[in-house]
Amino acid sequence: MEPQIICQDLKLGFGTNILVEHLSFTIEKGNYLCIVGENGAGKSTLLRALLGLLKPLSGSILLGDGLRRKEIGYLPQQTFVQRDFPASVREVVLSGCQGRCGLRPFYNCEEKQIAENAMEQMEITGLAETCYRDLSGGQQQRVLLARALCASDKLLVLDEPVSGLDPKMAETMYQLVARINREMGITIIMISHDVREAIPYATHILHMDRDYFFGTAEAYRKSDYGRLFLA
């Protein structure tokens, strides 16, 4: 199968502060990659680089399989601006189609339909007119996930999607992401601070520490890292 993302000898950081060095890995269509590691290991930095928000200091990130940079759906960590933002769920989800619009000022029927479908998949159609700030943390994450689905039907990048959720909601979130991955064939790249919870769903693991581990979830369980962190 043709790879969707190829990272070669990646070096990331800000100025003289180098966070990631000599990192190489490949992601194929339909993979579910879970990125784990300590805080400060450069997980979010890697994500920013994949999204094109940060230029690598050296090395390269190649996109294959007809994937274009703006076709990467993104679920960022929530910012403080959003907590009291007066916007309906439909408005937020629809804004995921912005990348498809280009300079056209208004959304067309097709984009509105994409947003409706995304809301249906995330089971938030009933909340369409509800205000975003009145939702629970889990519901807000589902809204942002629906927005990410509007931006891409190929690849989603999720930055700690369950942080701040209680265990039950976190479990629901993981299952939703797994369903997107299996039923829609969308590639998933997810950062998780909770190794044990996230790994059952993943096909591949990237463990970031002073050294890197990249391989299938199966191989990870047998590796030294896996034994250390999953024990």
Partner: protein
């Protein structure tokens, strides 16, 4: 009372004041929502002080038509503040405070040292609080205000969805290929235009009120971005209209009266908001 009002409406300067006041109120309230949500409530204040400084410079340099010069300087500073807001060495609020105080001081200094009129503190007071300048607008000023407001409203409507995307989540917008920098630049230019326009109405000290009050009031009651923008626009226009009419009838300073009208209406919306969240 009504007779008196009708009598006043026959004077073109009263009609001009109303037209300009309503246009400015409309423009400032629409952008106000975005600015408040982006945590830039004070940019209006900061930039209006810059405009004050520029006005003083224009007066000293002896420009007859000072609007283009003020517009240019204010736009430059708006871009500086909004563009470097996120990753500057001096963070957003501090940068605004610094530029605002600096421009104010330079403006006052220039007016004091190179003053052409005898009543310096009177002049300063007029530019800061607007006082009666809205009633002495020239035809050219009214036309310019009309054209610029039309441009601001037009651009806002055309870029409404993009402004929403950039306000709600800048990182996501950038990641999905929206040229966020360009839209922030556009916002900076729009806000600069509005501030220079609004100086005529309420003076540079009270501009923040026009930007903040309608947005905050609408946000207390409405729950979608579109309804907040619409409500904020209606709120602002109604307050500006009643404020100007009251100030003409009662002989109070126009700018301050409009702001007081905004404050009263805010109080009403605040109570409605509390009632609504209780039920």
């Amino acid at each position: 009372m009504l007779d008196k009002l009708l009598m006043y409406f026959q004077y073109p300067f009263v009609v001009n004041a109303l037209i300009v006041g309503i246009l400015i109120a409309l423009c400032s309230s629409m952008l106000g929502v975005t600015l408040v949500l982006k945590r830039y409530s004070f940019i209006g204040d900061g930039l209006s002080h810059v405009a004050f400084g520029a006005m003083a410079m224009a007066a000293v340099a002896g420009f007859t038509e000072d609007m283009p010069f003020i517009l240019l300087v204010t736009t430059a500073f708006a871009i500086l503040l909004l563009r470097t807001g996120q990753n500057a060495k001096i963070k957003g609020d501090a940068a605004i405070a610094m530029i605002s105080v600096g421009a104010m001081a330079i403006g006052y200094l220039l007016m004091n040292v190179f003053s052409s009129s005898a009543n310096v503190s009177g002049d300063v007071c007029t530019t800061l609080f607007g006082s009666t300048s809205i009633l002495t607008l020239t035809k050219m000023q009214v036309e310019m205000c009309g054209v610029l407001s039309a441009v601001v409203i037009g651009v806002f409507v055309l870029f409404y969805h993009k402004i929403f995307a950039v306000t709600f989540d800048e990182t996501f917008a950038r990641a999905t290929g929206t040229p966020v920098g360009a839209y922030n630049l556009l916002l900076a230019v729009l806000i600069a235009v509005i501030i220079v326009l609004a100086m005529n109405l309420v003076g540079s000290l009270l501009i923040s009120a026009l930007v903040i009050f309608p947005a905050l009031s609408a946000m207390r009651v409405f729950t979608s971005f579109k309804s907040v923008i619409l409500c904020s626009a209606v709120f602002s226009v109604v307050c500006a209209f009643s404020g100007i009419v009251f100030s003409i009838l009662a002989g109070t300073p126009t700018g301050a009266t409009v702001v007081v009208a905004d404050m009263l209406a805010f109080a009403v919306f605040y109570i409605i908001g509390i009632k609504k969240s209780d039920s």
